[in-house]
């Protein structure tokens, strides 16, 4: 019985919300944010002083100020690279979401289909995408198409495995309820299995959205082309050859920020979609 637990969490939420309201802003700030901020400043200071103290040249370990300068100096290059990588990974992600969910629904609609194909889906999932990337390039040519395909491939399997798990996780009693009302296979799919799978699908999408950026960057390593069309991955390979270490740091940080933003956007979307009912998206109410 999940009900008493839910009552508990509801109560706890209400309590913490009440406690939060009573506390003045200053103490909330102190408890929640002060620690991480101090740690961050400490980290930056150490990072700034250690290369100075050890006399490390900027091409081995650049200081934060070096990274900042490199970012400013090559901002046009970097911003263009970011823009391209965003574009590629968004398309790769959308493809893996749409095709992943579509294929899962199709597989789940037939036990025979699922049983015969799902094992191969698992095997395919274990193949490192980096290993097949060159094949993709041979098939789709260097550049945008291949990068999107690689980004799609890497984000596709988490969506499939999570969606399938969700579609098969339907509560037995709810399933029987649909049997009692003589629901057709597709009524069951649309009105029961897909809504019930939503939290799982959202988990899959959260995993796949960060992977799609990894995919895009890996894709750019192997299939990136210059001429103002190279993304972050391409910028990284070029900077590495030129030993522009500071700029490499800028690219790495940019990729991290991109991943985090992507994740936050999908999480927000998931919260909006599941907010009305699912426990994991449940926050204090009213």
């Amino acid at each position: 019985m999940a009900m008493p637990e839910m009552e508990m969490t509801k109560q706890q939420n209400a309590l913490t919300a009440a406690a939060r309201r009573k506390r003045p802003f200053a103490s909330t700030f102190k408890e929640l944010y002060l620690g991480p901020i101090i740690a961050f400043i400490l980290f930056l200071t150490l990072w700034q002083t250690i290369p100075l103290a050890l006399g490390l040249p900027h091409y081995i370990l650049p200081k934060p100020t070096d990274v900042w300068e490199a970012t400013i100096a090559d901002w046009t290059l970097l911003s263009e690279a970011i823009r391209i990588t965003i574009f590629e990974s968004v398309i790769g992600f959308l493809l893996s979401a749409v095709i992943g969910i579509g294929v899962s629904v199709l597989l789940a609609s037939s036990k025979i289909l699922e049983r015969s194909i799902y094992p191969y889906a698992i095997i395919l999932q274990t193949i490192p995408v980096v290993a097949v990337a060159p094949i993709v390039v041979i098939w789709f040519g260097a550049g945008f198409n291949s990068i999107v395909v690689i980004s799609f491939l890497i984000g596709f399997f988490p969506v499939i495995s999570n969606t399938l798990m969700g579609l098969n996780s339907v509560d037995k009693n709810m399933d029987e309820l649909f049997t009692l009302y003589n629901a057709s296979k597709w009524q069951r799919m649309w009105k029961l299995r897909i809504p019930a799978a939503m939290p799982y699908i959202m988990t899959g999408l959260k995993i796949s959205c960060t992977l799609s950026i990894v995919g895009a960057i890996v894709g750019e390593y192997v299939a990136g082309i210059g001429g103002g069309n190279g993304g972050l991955g391409y910028a990284i390979t070029v900077a590495a050859i030129q030993v522009k270490t500071s700029f490499l740091f800028s690219c790495g940080i940019a990729a991290a920020i991109l991943g985090i933003s992507f994740y936050l956007i999908v999480s927000l979307f998931s919260k909006m979609l599941l907010g009305s009912w699912h426990e994991s998206a449940m926050k204090s109410e009213k």
């Binding site: 009900m3 009693n173 029987e176 309820l177 049997t179 009692l180 009302y181 809504p195 009912w277």
Partner: protein, 263 residues
């Protein structure tokens, strides 16, 4: 009443053996007449839920036959709205509002949209939830969830209402209120109710007839006709006649248990 009543449910020599070898039900013979309120009363493992589920076509007997209004239950489920089932937990879809949960059976059956909404609102009013149409299940208490579940069962206008320990998880006060309301609805809608419980007081308070069952193997041990007048009030619980029936039912439960221990 001496008028010949039609049979709503008929268990004919029904046995159920699960794959594990457990005999859930052994040679179960029992008729339920139309308009009756019958409780299956017994300890856990006596096959009372198994019997109820067979009436809904959820699982078929290993041998024997269950018929509902003279037809096999699977057929009724396929072509009619005659059977409704209320589960032990409210079993609501958490992503649907109260109104949409009640609309579900109507949606699955098809029909005009406006009419469906009217029906759903009517049954929700019947269970006292017309002010919570747009609430979600998680915002409701256990008792209110069960009300929604009952409203959903009533929405398709069933002739036979099957209830599997619907009030077992509720607190005593909520349970009593819902029992009263259930009796009201039963009288008003002129349904047949089959009610599974392990609570002797509940069985006596609600039923016109109690089928006492015993476990290992599950079978019918006695049938008690409860000749207490309807409508039944809460005050009836202190009535000597009520106590008498509780005593009879308890004795019937116990005699079987002790008999088994001496074997």
């Amino acid at each position: 009443m001496t008028i010949e009543q039609k049979q709503a449910v008929y268990f004919q020599h029904v046995s159920k053996v699960y794959n594990t070898g457990t005999v859930a039900l052994h040679h179960f013979d029992f008729p339920v007449k139309e308009g009756e309120f019958v409780s299956f009363l017994g300890p856990s493992g006596c096959g009372k839920s198994t019997a109820l589920r067979m009436v809904a076509g959820l699982g078929s007997p290993t041998s024997g036959e269950v018929s509902v209004f003279g037809r096999p239950p699977e057929e009724l489920i396929k072509y009619t709205n005659d059977i409704a089932f209320v589960f032990q937990d409210a079993n609501l879809l958490p992503w649907r509002s109260v109104l949409d949960n009640v609309l579900l059976p109507l949606e699955l059956r098809g029909g005009s949209k406006k009419e469906k909404r009217e029906t759903a609102k009517r049954v929700l009013e019947m269970v006292g939830l017309k002010d919570h149409l747009s609430s979600y299940p998680r915002q409701l208490s256990g008792g209110m969830r069960m009300r929604v579940s009952i409203a959903r069962a009533l929405a398709a206008k069933p002739k036979l209402l099957l209830m599997d320990e619907p009030f077992a998880a509720l607190d005593e006060i909520t349970r009593q209120t819902l029992q009263m309301e259930l009796l009201d609805i039963w009288k008003r809608e002129k349904m047949t109710v089959l009610f599974v419980t392990h609570n002797v007081y509940e069985a006596v308070f609600l039923s016109s007839k109690i089928a006492v069952m015993s476990a290992r193997p599950g079978r019918l041990s006695s049938v008690i006709d409860v000749n207490l007048p309807y409508p039944r009030e809460l005050s009836m619980r202190t009535d000597p006649a009520f106590s008498k029936y509780v005593e009879i039912a308890s004795a019937s439960l116990e005699s079987h248990e002790s008999r088994k221990e001496t074997v």
